[in-house]
Symmetry: C2
């Protein structure tokens, strides 16, 4: 596969790591980003700049998108974008965390044009993107997912085919929903410990390996306690994901009060200027006195 040309739209923190791993695996890269400056480093490393999503799509066998919001996904695929300009037979893969319903819409439109669409959002953050250890959740036609396996393996470690178009996004939403409420639990537990005057190191020793244990408690708990609120995963991005998940759950008739509460709390924090803090800054809500 490594003679294939890969187009990549979105050279932010995530995209940068993923593009480097694709180049390392031998692929030729065509890149576009709304702000060109953010692509300069990659260009100097050998990625080939194109002036628009359409220009990327015209020149690639595989087009990957890693942009910000569902609105950005919509705009690079539709509106004289990827779907109108990709050659028949091109694989188009949206790795942005985005709406499952939009993934279905892209898939349907792509099929009409003779394109192969996959939704393949990731978890693992910028570190996972850099190290090529992302978890990748893939939705779309199974044969297409198999064909793209070498591409995914260049960027991730745990690659799971989840089912028809939208299933990758749905899986990512399940992931974010679990995180949404657990962040509340971790913050409330540690705030309680601090209010009670406990030695929080000892509390962690007692609770982190038992039934209260979680990735967030072990990894973000210590940052809360140190007052280290740097991202990691931005509050503004979790709010975006929670909004998509809430809409999607509602559209399926599922009420999710924990997710609603989490979004309320994070919305308040964003309104108070914390949108660019890491999600562990939820701790500030409890410790403001």
């Amino acid at each position: 596969m490594s003679e294939k040309v890969v187009g990549f739209i979105g050279t932010g923190v995530m995209g940068k790591g993923m593009i480097r791993n694709l180049m390392k695996a031998g692929y030729s890269l065509r890149v576009y980003n709304r702000t060109k400056e953010k692509a300069e480093e990659l260009i100097s490393e050998g990625a080939d700049w194109r002036n628009s999503p359409a220009a990327v799509a015209e020149s690639a066998d595989i087009v990957i998108t890693m942009v910000g919001y569902p609105g950005d996904v919509e705009s690079v695929y539709f509106n004289d974008g990827i779907l109108d300009h990709a050659k028949s037979g091109t694989y188009v893969i949206d790795m942005t965390t985005s709406s499952p319903q939009l993934a279905e819409k892209i898939s349907t439109a792509a099929k009409k044009k003779g394109l192969h669409a996959l939704d393949a959002p990731v978890s693992g953050g910028d570190i996972g993107a850099q190290n090529g250890t992302l978890s990748i959740m893939v939705g779309g036609e199974e044969a297409d997912a198999k064909m793209m396996l070498p591409i995914f393996q260049a960027m991730g470690r745990k690659i799971v085919y989840q089912g028809q178009a939208g299933s990758g996004q749905h899986t990512k939403m399940a992931n974010q929903i679990a995180i949404a409420s657990n962040m509340i639990g971790v913050a409330e537990a540690l705030a309680y410990a601090r209010y009670a005057g406990l030695d929080t190191d000892k509390v962690m020793e007692s609770i982190e390996t038992g039934a209260a244990g979680s990735w967030s408690l072990s990894n973000l708990g210590p940052r809360m306690l140190k007052g280290d609120f740097a991202p990691g995963f931005y509050i503004k991005h979790l709010i975006k994901d929670e909004g998509i998940a809430l809409d999607s759950a509602k559209s399926m008739g599922l009420e999710t009060p924990g997710l609603s509460l989490s979004k309320e709390i994070y919305d308040q924090l964003a309104a108070a200027g914390e949108e660019n803090s890491g999600t562990q800054a939820i701790f500030k809500k409890y410790m403001k006195k």
Copy 2:
């Protein structure tokens, strides 16, 4: 220490396992339980029955309580109970999950009588009690906690001294607070996955080892998905703990909306007849259609 006589009040599922491990370690046991039938098995194995908490206290060097509610703890310690009948120098250890404020009150009263009081709630459930692998969170005088270490080691594996009287209970509350919200997140994530028509085994494969991972997701998630709602940890007991935690948080000026939401949901489930189900039955709230 093994010539010491240990009094044990409360021979329920937890107490039974703990008492057997104490006997295995060579201690002589004096036991009392509100319902004598529940102690018969232990009596046949060599535990010595006494007719009241007072009678247990009079005959033991160390008195352990493992009862139901803070009201039960209060009634065995006060009201012509342990504190009035224990010999000076006796160690009295409440291992019930109970109120931190009550633990402080017992400690103060015990000191006046020349007794050594510890609060030492546990996590690890009936399996941990049986296997002697409980996590034990100890509050009280540090010298007293050290003196009782062999007793704790007979019943548990991770024994952590948490600080002054009440600190063991406070630590257990932090543990339950983390669990309270995480149970919502796990149930909502898996309900979402099911509503979306995903293959939940594949979803678990994608999400359980990443940032959404937790003990509850890995251990209770599969039971939710199988419809196995047997306890485990009873809903009625989590409700009790959540009530204590809420009162305690409020008394310290800490608002815990996640904990409040969890208690609301579990109260509804109990009202619908689920009080004797395992805490994973929270999944039913989301899957009722």
